[in-house]
Subunit: 588 residues, 2 copies
């Protein structure tokens, strides 16, 4: 069966409400991933039973129609478009022996509420003569004033003005959803600027575009952090976003009766009480820093700091430095200290790390979708994002394993070097590599840009275990070693994003929502049960009107669309029956 024929039969079955016929077009264990179009959430259905149950519940409301093939990506694979009662969508189909192995349906726009772009963009000036005409600037200033005075309330308050909050705000702006971003730093982009000096993005530029305004084609492959800072600052300005700097959210409480939030924001020295209908925590997947309690820290004569607060290697020339942890930040910071002439840099490795060279990832993993070659082959950023979305998370590991087999061969020298140096590395519990580890726990890997060689050469010294305690000028390791230390950097990562809910709202709400991120893959840091999508991200949670947004630049870009559409529908009073809510899940 061709994709064309399959889609016709599928459309006919749905039109008739024949759920059995529709589901029998799938393999018995086939997948249907829906991003908001059918379910008003992000959910992957696995097997005919789940698909049938979903259709039984939603089909009469969704009323899908207008299915049409838009392009064949390879034999048995096709892109298509479709409509629902309220929106228009794009989907992807993969057939095996005439049945659907995977189906993707995504909502792309709401009918009657399309983004104003291209032919429908604003006119900018009103031709004609209008007494008391207000200029764009005057209207902007008025909007700013009425937000500040509280006369106008944002429909959406976004806490955190990094790439995530900014990209979402841009999408909401294009959808005419009143939104305000609050950012504690003095300038947009400072969350990048303030990090250690040598930081560059570990993902290549093709992966990193913001929505609507891609980087120009000379933008470097790996952006230095300060350039990203500048880009974000500019983006806020030219996208005309409502964005408060120096503004920290210090508390939020949901008013159940009115269904609005009461949010206290400290803006410089002023306190503002905001009353948004929706609250988005975009404080970063790198949420609240994990800072292990190390006995003796109080009496430690050296400097002890979490990686997020470590400004860089400058000033540590001739000093003895210990870095606790062995993931991205730990490697970057150790290498930076070494580059700045630290007398001794020791990395203390607590658990095995996925190590892959950046070049290998570009060539073998990202390259097919996010590279100059892909772009020249017509794979736009949007197509790349949708292509990635078209593979259910359950299938990713098997698709990734061969890549890491190949990487292991090509970089045999690197890995044997690391082995000789005593560095514990792996490719994840099931060998499916970095992407899996990222989705499962958002950490646990080093994208090698050079520091592994320092470890191999012994210029970064390596110790296994952890820091048992600190005393005077010494870090005592779990194996009893005493390391004289002027500096200890704890590159020990971050907690789950619901830590922010606990901090800003209440422990009760945080507990009700449960852990964010992770798939339930039944691996060490991501215990089951399997949920098949990232927990609580970009979709309704157990707490009404509370949303989590984050992830890397690619995820922020892509998933912000679905989050923005969910919010727009709520603003416009379009019914948004959520088919499914993640059950609450806690790590312990």
């Amino acid at each position: 069966m061709t994709p064309q024929r399959w889609l016709e039969r599928f459309a006919a079955a749905l039109a008739k409400g024949d759920i059995d016929a529709a589901s029998s077009l799938f393999e018995p264990g086939g997948f249907w991933r829906d991003l908001v179009a059918f379910t008003w959430t992000l959910k992957t259905f696995e097997g005919r039973a789940e698909i049938k149950a979903m259709l039984a519940a939603v089909l009469s409301n969704v009323r899908p129609s207008g299915w049409g093939i838009r392009g064949i990506s390879s034999p048995g694979e096709a892109w298509f478009t479709f409509e629902t009662a309220v929106g228009r969508g794009i989907g992807h189909l993969r057939l095996r022996e005439g049945r659907a192995w995977t189906l993707l349906t995504t909502l792309q726009e709401l009918k009657g509420f399309e983004e104003k772009a291209g032919r429908t963009r604003e006119w900018g000036t009103e031709h004609g003569v209008l007494p008391e005409r207000k200029s764009w600037l005057e209207r902007k200033v008025e909007r700013e004033k009425s937000l500040l005075s509280g006369e106008q309330q944002p429909f959406v308050l976004i806490v955190g003005g990094g790439q995530g909050g900014i990209g979402l705000a841009a999408r909401l702006k294009r959808l005419d959803v009143p939104a305000l971003v609050v950012e504690k730093n003095p300038r947009a982009g400072d969350s990048w600027r303030k990090r250690y000096k040598s930081l560059c993005l570990h993902d290549p530029v093709w992966y990193d575009h913001m929505p609507y305004l891609p980087f120009p084609d000379h933008w470097p492959v790996f952006s230095p952090k300060d350039r990203i800072g500048d880009w974000l600052e500019m983006y806020v300005k030219v996208m005309d976003l409502d964005y408060w700097t120096y503004s920290e959210c210090v508390g939020a409480r949901f008013d159940k009766e009115k269904s609005i939030w009461n949010v206290e924001v400290k803006r410089g020295h002023e306190s503002h009480l905001l009353k948004p209908t929706h609250l988005v925590l975009a404080t970063g997947m790198s949420g609240v820093p994990n800072m292990p309690r190390i006995p003796g820290a109080e009496s430690f004569r050296g400097t002890l700091v979490h990686s997020s607060a470590h400004p860089g290697g400058e000033g540590w020339r001739g000093k003895r430095c210990v870095v606790l942890g062995s993931n991205n930040s730990a490697h970057d910071i150790a290498a930076d200290l070494w580059e700045h002439g630290a007398a001794e840099v020791t990395m203390v490795q607590r658990s095995p790390t996925v190590v892959v060279r950046s070049e290998m990832l570009m060539e073998l993993a990202w390259g097919k979708l996010y590279s100059q070659a892909a772009l020249e082959a017509g794979i736009t950023t949007e197509i790349a994002d949708l292509t990635l979305a078209a593979t259910p998370f359950r299938l990713l590991p098997e698709m990734q394993k061969p890549i890491y087999e190949e990487i292991k061969k090509r970089d045999a020298e690197l890995y044997s070097g690391l082995e000789r140096a005593g560095f514990r590395f792996h490719f994840g519990e099931d060998g499916s590599g970095l992407h899996s580890v990222y989705l499962r726990r958002g950490a646990g890997y080093y994208i090698d840009v050079g520091a592994s060689q320092l470890v191999i050469d012994g210029r970064i010294k390596l110790r296994q275990g952890t820091i048992q305690n600190l005393k005077d000028g010494t870090a005592v390791l779990s194996d009893g070693t005493e390391l004289p230390a002027d500096l200890v950097v704890s590159a020990t990562g971050y907690g789950s994003m619901n830590g922010w809910a606990a901090k800003l709202i209440s422990k009760e709400v945080a507990d009700k929502v449960g852990k964010c991120w992770g798939l339930g893959s039944d691996t060490k840091y991501d215990p089951g049960p399997w949920v098949g999508e990232l927990r609580n991200m970009w979709k309704p949670t157990q707490q009404p009107n509370l949303w989590f947004h984050g992830g890397n630049l690619m995820q922020s870009r892509h998933y912000s669309l679905y989050l923005a559409l969910q919010l727009k529908a709520r603003l416009e009073g379009i019914p948004t029956p959520t088919y499914y809510l993640d059950p609450v899940h806690h790590l312990e």
Copy 2:
């Protein structure tokens, strides 16, 4: 003959050095427009004799080759690419009955000095471990310091940081040509922000993109001035340009022996002596304000101001206002005063004005190249610019006349209204409309966005003549009328750009260079002889190492490429024998 066949024969003739054969492939009166590729200047050759003379002089140096058709735009018309000894180019060919009616050759890049973009973009970070590694920010700060201290001198100094200077600086940046922009205002974009409040661009967005970083697709059709200001400010930042604000060029002197400029720049309260090799005046086509001397101005009790210094209608409610002039600024300012509730607004018309409604221009004039429809038909900004360049200036008027015949019909009501109101309008001396008038004198038109209706309705009062003198609170017109006036705005335009040379360098140099702009069309404000290109713009002038850059956003975008390539060639020591220099021309 097909374009393919023609190009083969042309290539063969040039390869053999057979100039007769090459020129006989043109119509006897055929045109060859060259933008830098053959002549190291911008020059249109009209007729076989001129073409032969040019080829005789340059062919042995240019050594063109590699001619290949790249696309047929319509029967007998084609795009092609070619190479010269030092560069690569794009060209366009129009055949009539087997002979070239028009040929365009443009230089697009210099071999070995291609812009780093796409696959050749910078890596951004240096993978590996580098003791004393400098971050992007540190290198940027060092560059800024060494420019400030004078330790490093820019190869090119650009005076004026509006869209012209900024776009050129971006092109030079991508070509690795050290350039510094000096702008007298506190922020990039202020030259727009400081203008009257109601100002929006009169050209639609598709015409207005800056190089490399187009506006996103929701950008309004007619940009409000403050948005353009913000865009330019952002552009300077993210394109990483060297740009001094609060910096005014107060004097420049060419050192003939060293072939460098000595330029005095006041930066805030500091004085800097800069020694660039090349000096670009990008102070705007709207150069030095033309302020007529009006007898009695000293004793005038009201406010007398040039349009460039008029901040807008606010504050003039209930006041009597006179606007001298009847072009774009005069109309915008008069309408803005009326919208702000001025008691009386009188426009004093000195000479006839070309009036066309903005919507007509979009539909009939710009629309084929610069519109959403054009874009969707595959006409990118670059193709649109080159298409426009492919028509020699000599042929433009005849192509434009039918457009204005059509506009006259469609907007018959507007024009009969203006006639009834006593407003003197025309479509240029030869009926070829706005584009011609713009090229000939850079002024003399109003793109109607509503003010004409105010004139027709008598809400903007109209007087013919000029202001004879001012006395006390009255403007006395040439017909003897005495108009009580609290405000007189002199919307009387700007002088030629060489006025800037007179102001910044010397009258001697300004006189040596002569008038900028204009084609020598033998019309009232653009006397002959015919030169066929805009005088002195974007090409070598009679003053070595002095360049003029300006025009609207489209011209600044397109022609900055050729100016940047000319400067890059000089930086790299590539020979740039200039085939032709405009003879000096003065208006009086």
